[in-house]
């Protein structure tokens, strides 16, 4: 299936979850937030939340700022 992750096209196996995506991207779960189609996915749901074709995903974290 085709996903848009942080604005970039990305292929993933159908049935993949948010946890699978983070794992593939080597992003530690601690202190990131994930939005799927503008809805925040709570950390506790990463392993249950199955992604669908054409989902738009935002993965954010904290960076330096004022």
């Amino acid at each position: 299936m085709q996903l848009v992750v942080n604005g970039e096209q990305r292929q993933m196996q159908p049935g993949s979850t948010v946890a699978d995506l983070l794992d593939e991207l080597q992003i530690p779960v601690v202190r990131v937030a994930v939005e799927v189609n503008l809805e925040i996915v709570p950390k506790a749901s990463y392993t249950q939340h199955t992604l669908a074709d054409r989902d738009r995903i935002e993965i954010v974290h904290f960076v330096g700022g004022g």
Partner: protein
Amino acid sequence: MKSNKLTIAGKEYNSRLMVGTGKYATNELMVEALEASGAEIITVAVRRVDLTQMGKGCMLDYIDPKKYTLLPNTAACYTAEEAIRTCRLAREAGLSDLVKLEVLGDEKTLFPDNEELLKAAKILIAEGFTVLPYCSDDVILCKKLEDLGCAAVMPLGAPIGSGLGIRNPYNIKLIMEAVSVPVIVDAGVGTASDATLAMELGCDGILMNTAIAGAKDPVAMARAMKLGVEAGRLAHEAGRIPRKLYATASSPLTDLIGS
């Protein structure tokens, strides 16, 4: 005398200086400057994870979460909607309700869009956020933000990153008289005396980033700011003498020698 601690939303802080984590050349330098500043609250921005840097460390790897309270900002948000979305993501990422709410109105001045700010503050407070709004140095606006339930008000001293200092100390004074939540001057200071002035006015705290990160020696400036804030606060609590036009001798005018 009032307690010498800054209290925000029921939590006490020893330092009245809050600092940003942006614009540092390296994370190591940032950590050293944070240490030197003595700050306990540090601001961070919320951004996309860079997928080309997969597996590499992030800024937070350098920050001890036990030592610092993270204050996520909504920098670069120009509408209430964008700012609210950013706050929700920040809460999920940091597991805290504390946010520095800024809704900007213009790229050139980075002045707040106060109408959007009020709109966003109202919604976020209803969602349980502890909102610290970056706002104009306008007493009526600050009263409105307090009435909405903001945990503090953070009027600007001057435009963000401008280093112009406290441009309107009289407005800041009026705001302090008008609201009972902490008043934290946010943005605009250039050097330690600016911070001192803000604290002498009676501000509860001050937030800065560029003045430290942009200095030639950020660690030395962080220490200067720490001392400046402490000096200003002490002077405020000590109570300064009134300003007068003419001199008053410091030495006795009696028992003068020979005459």
